[in-house]
């Protein structure tokens, strides 16, 4: 590894690997770093094999770019084609500091907003770089044919998003994620056709292989044939997304999982800030116990919709039209008069939860509780007229009606918050390298850029920034320092990993218990949602920390997985993922309990100022990186607890100064 740019001294409190922050003015840091990093001779690039796991925005853009550069790339995804990665479902948009609207935006402002929005729990240098390359993302996407919204003059349109004061969000109707992903996917397919990238769809990474302290490959299961095999590489990059499905019900795709990052964690990669999760306030509420996932409705609905619940719990079962104006509680307008219905995501989410916990929720009662609040467009229709409302929100209303069977023009929409994005992830240094040399982590899978809360339209930006414009440089710097090749999958480390994967599969199939995988996942999810969701307490987390090992033990004794390991077996796939969630959830709760402050999406009930999050910068201005201490490969199948070691990376703010968020 190159030593020449470990310029910032690592503070004494941090005992992990150097995080290689650049020194000097933040505005020129990335440019200077790019110059100081080593390059790989074009003729030598094909000798280096790189594995990319995941084909979402981060994975596909990285695989395509590295292929273009001439590396020998293998890309893996569990879906049937790389185009289906969950980045596709992002609706809103992608931020970039283009300042096309001449409204005072700049790279520095995007950087500032992101650090502040992240509630001072992200690394300044990483965020600045993100803001800096954001402008290149738009250029790249447009050149690939991404059909962004345009003005009549033919130039790109922008909108303001998520309460930002400038219009910096580029969008493609409500399908920005899909269009950006298809751009990256087409670049990836072009490289597949050229032979620089070999794609492995329907192939799930089940272990990371570390040889002599470096990441040297992965062990995978072919989801169609069940064959377990390994791939060797000179470096591995994970772009496998977030872990919001630990809550079972989330807006994530059903297949989203923590498996690849968790397995890498067990092989030595530290997991940072797992408790930082984002809850989206406007999702369609749960309709019944069979519910399989939650659907997000665009936040833009809150621009004109008014949020309310009945003042009196006795009115909750009545038709909303029968509840008089005086009996309604427009709680966001009441509590936050200046921001009202446009209060930030975390605040609006918690307020909805409080109202429902107070017994004033609306909609169908699921397991004894009504979890929903009204989002009412009656006033907007009165003020703007039905055609104007339909023009703005017609497609969203249709989508709502398709799912709920209710017409939002007749009955107010019902909304409830749902887990949506996870800011935490594998710890990476400024080079996006984890604590395992040769293992890089990109996109939502890493922890680096969003701190404790992500701003709207920044997830797409980060995935593409990492894949197109950061990893190709930092990976080259790593590869330039090592010799290519010299290993194959007959090495003992690969054989061991394959054996462990096969043993775990056999074990899952042999239990033949009474409970289905989904029933364990649902129980875990509900518990996590109740105690590690929108509001967390020391007691609640402690109880859950006691309960998780018990549930895990039961899982390994009583789960039922039909079929065999040598075929397409969707239950087996789910079982492996849920087994990992059952381990991961514990670290997540531990992190939430250890962080005795409220910041961003992490709200500890004990630490608040009249309902507002109370940050503790003196004690918690750090990233919490957890080191796994259990056995490397084998699952934690018993009732024993995971006891990871905590390492604290201090966060230093030289440019953006601590301030308390206030929306009153």
């Amino acid at each position: 590894m190159s030593q020449n740019h470990e310029t910032t001294e690592t503070p004494a409190a941090w005992d992990g690997p150097a995080y290689k922050l650049p020194e000097g003015p933040i505005q020129t840091a990335w440019t200077e770093r790019k110059f100081s990093m080593k390059l790989v001779n074009p003729a030598n690039r094909r000798k280096y094999t790189v594995i990319i796991v995941g084909s979402g925005l981060a994975g596909a853009s990285a695989a395509a770019t590295l292929g273009e550069l001439g590396y020998n790339v293998h890309c893996f995804c569990f879906q049937d084609t790389p185009r289906r990665a969950h980045s596709i479902a992002a609706q809103g948009g992608v931020n970039a500091a283009k300042n096309y609207q001449n409204d005072g935006d700049s790279v520095y402002r995007l950087f500032y907003d992101t650090v502040k929005g992240g509630d001072f729990r992200s690394r300044e240098a990483n965020v600045y770089r993100l803001a800096e390359v954001s402008v290149n993302i738009i250029d790249q996407a447009v050149a690939q044919g991404v059909p962004f919204a345009r003005e009549y003059g033919g130039l790109l349109a922008n909108r303001s998003f998520g309460g930002a004061q400038v219009s910096r969000t580029f969008y493609a109707r409500g399908q920005t994620g899909q269009q950006l992903l298809l751009g990256a996917y087409s670049a990836l397919e072009r490289q597949i056709a050229r032979g620089t990238v070999k794609m492995h769809p329907r192939t799930e990474m089940l272990d990371l292989v570390v040889v002599d302290g470096r990441a040297r490959g992965i062990t995978v299961r072919d989801l169609e044939t069940g064959k377990v095999s390994s791939y060797v590489a000179d470096a591995v990059a994970l772009g496998t997304g977030g872990y919001a499905n630990v809550f079972y019900l989330s807006t994530n795709a059903k297949g989203c999982n923590v498996t690849s990052t968790w397995r890498a964690h067990k092989r030595g990669a530290w997991f940072a800030n797992p408790c930082f999760t984002q809850i989206h306030p406007t999702c369609i509420p749960v309709a019944g116990s069979y519910q399989s996932k939650l659907t997000l409705m665009s936040e833009s609905l809150r621009n004109d919709g008014r949020v309310w619940v009945p003042k009196n719990p006795d009115n909750c079962g009545r038709h909303p039209g029968e509840i008089a104006e005086a009996d309604r509680d427009y709680y966001l307008e009441r509590k936050y008069p200046s921001f009202g219905n446009l209060s930030p995501r975390d605040i609006a989410s918690r307020a909805a939860k409080e109202a429902c916990d107070d017994g004033r929720g609306v909609g169908p009662s699921v397991e004894g509780v009504r979890r929903g609040v009204y989002l009412d467009f009656a006033d907007a229709v009165k003020r703007l007229g039905k055609p104007a409302v339909s023009e703005k929100y017609g497609n969203l209303f249709e989508m709502y009606q398709r799912i709920t069977g209710e017409d939002p023009y007749e009955v107010p929409m019902r909304m409830y918050p749902a887990p949506h994005y996870t800011m935490g992830g594998l710890w990476v240094d400024y080079q996006l390298q984890s604590t395992i040399p040769g293992l890089f982590v990109i996109g939502e899978a890493n922890f680096s850029d969003h701190g404790a809360n992500r701003l709207g339209a920044s997830a797409l930006m980060q995935g593409l920034a990492d894949g197109y414009f950061v990893l190709p440089f930092t990976l080259a710097d790593y590869l330039a320092g090592i010799k290519p090749g010299n290993l194959d999958t007959t090495h003992a480390a690969f054989k061991d990993a394959e054996r462990e994967v096969a043993a775990k599969t056999d074990k899952l199939l042999s239990i033949k218990g009474k409970r289905t995988v989904d029933s364990f996942h649902r129980e875990l999810g509900l518990m996590m949602w109740d105690t590690c969701g929108m509001a967390r307490t020391h007691e609640g987390l402690t109880a859950t920390l006691k309960r998780i090992p018990e549930l895990r033990e039961e899982f390994w004794k009583n789960v039922t997985v039909a079929g065999s390991g040598a075929e397409l077996n969707q239950s087996l796939e789910k079982a492996g993922r849920v087994a990992d969630f059952l381990e991961f959830a514990e670290t997540m709760c531990l992190d939430a309990r250890t962080r005795a402050e409220s910041c961003g999406g992490h709200f500890r009930t004990e630490y608040q100022d009249e309902g507002e999050a109370k940050r503790n910068d003196a004690e918690y201005s750090h990233a919490s990186a957890w080191e796994y201490t259990g056995s490397n490969g084998a699952p934690n199948a018993g009732g024993s607890q995971n006891t990871p070691n905590l390492h604290k990376e201090p966060l230093v703010f030289n440019y953006v100064h601590f301030a308390t968020r206030s929306y009153k």
Binding site: T65, E68, Q79, D80, T81, R83, R84, H86, I88, A89, K98, Y100, N136, I138, D139, Q140, A141, V142, A143, Q144, G145, P147, A149, G153, G154, L155, A172, Q175, Q178, Q179, L182, S186, A187, E189, R194, P201, E224, T251, A253, A287, G288, Y290, Q291, S292, K293, L296, R402, I403, T404, G405, Y468, F469, T560, V561, A562, G563, E567, L568, N569, S571
Partner: protein
Amino acid sequence: MRIKLHVWRQSGRDAKGDFETHECPDVSEHMSFLEMLDVLNERLESAGKAPIAFEHDCREGICGSCGFMINGQAHGPQPRTTVCQLHMRTFKDGDELTLEPWRAKAFPVVRDLVVDRSAFDRIIQAGGYISTNTGSAPEANSVPVRKDSADKSFDAAACIGCGACVAMCPNASASLFTAAKLAHMNLLPQGQPERLVRGERMVVAMDVEGFGHCTNHSDCEAVCPKGISVTNIAMMNRGFVEATLFSSPREGSTED
């Protein structure tokens, strides 16, 4: 309500398949179609039986994973709706539904209702991209795009690659899929340099995969969850004629 299902079961690519009948006794009208199958699958799993394999992921109608035939209709009876967004209130108590996988030579059945749609990826590999290496892009606003072109391009780009068009087409043709990608790129100025070659190669790739041809039935458009228009197919045909008959071989050539 009570729903009776006749589901195609097939244990693997080369296995022989057949229909299996299942009763779903307590279906809620608020369930999505896939949630009904989830409940059935949990019951099968508890009984130690193999659950029905079906593809799904986002369950918001955008990833394109899900899809099968419900009573001879791709994605079922609700227009512009993928099967994951189809809710049981569309059906009535006592309905009997036949679930079959997409059927096409180019979409071999992998298991039950799961088919292999990698042929679509290979059509894209043949030319469904604009060759732009990372970093080489010009300033985004340096090329204005007429709004109507951008909008039309977008309409075509909305394709989610689910394969319903192939499944519903009496000829198992992939023309709508291929034409949508061509229209997406060819309607933009960025797509012009490779327009001819793209059109020729993708059509040839579609043939190589063994899809049928288009006889303008328009069944594809009717079941497309994104409402992609068959007029894109006419544009594809025109482009193909231009590329093969009326342009010199080197025109718009691309890397190999």
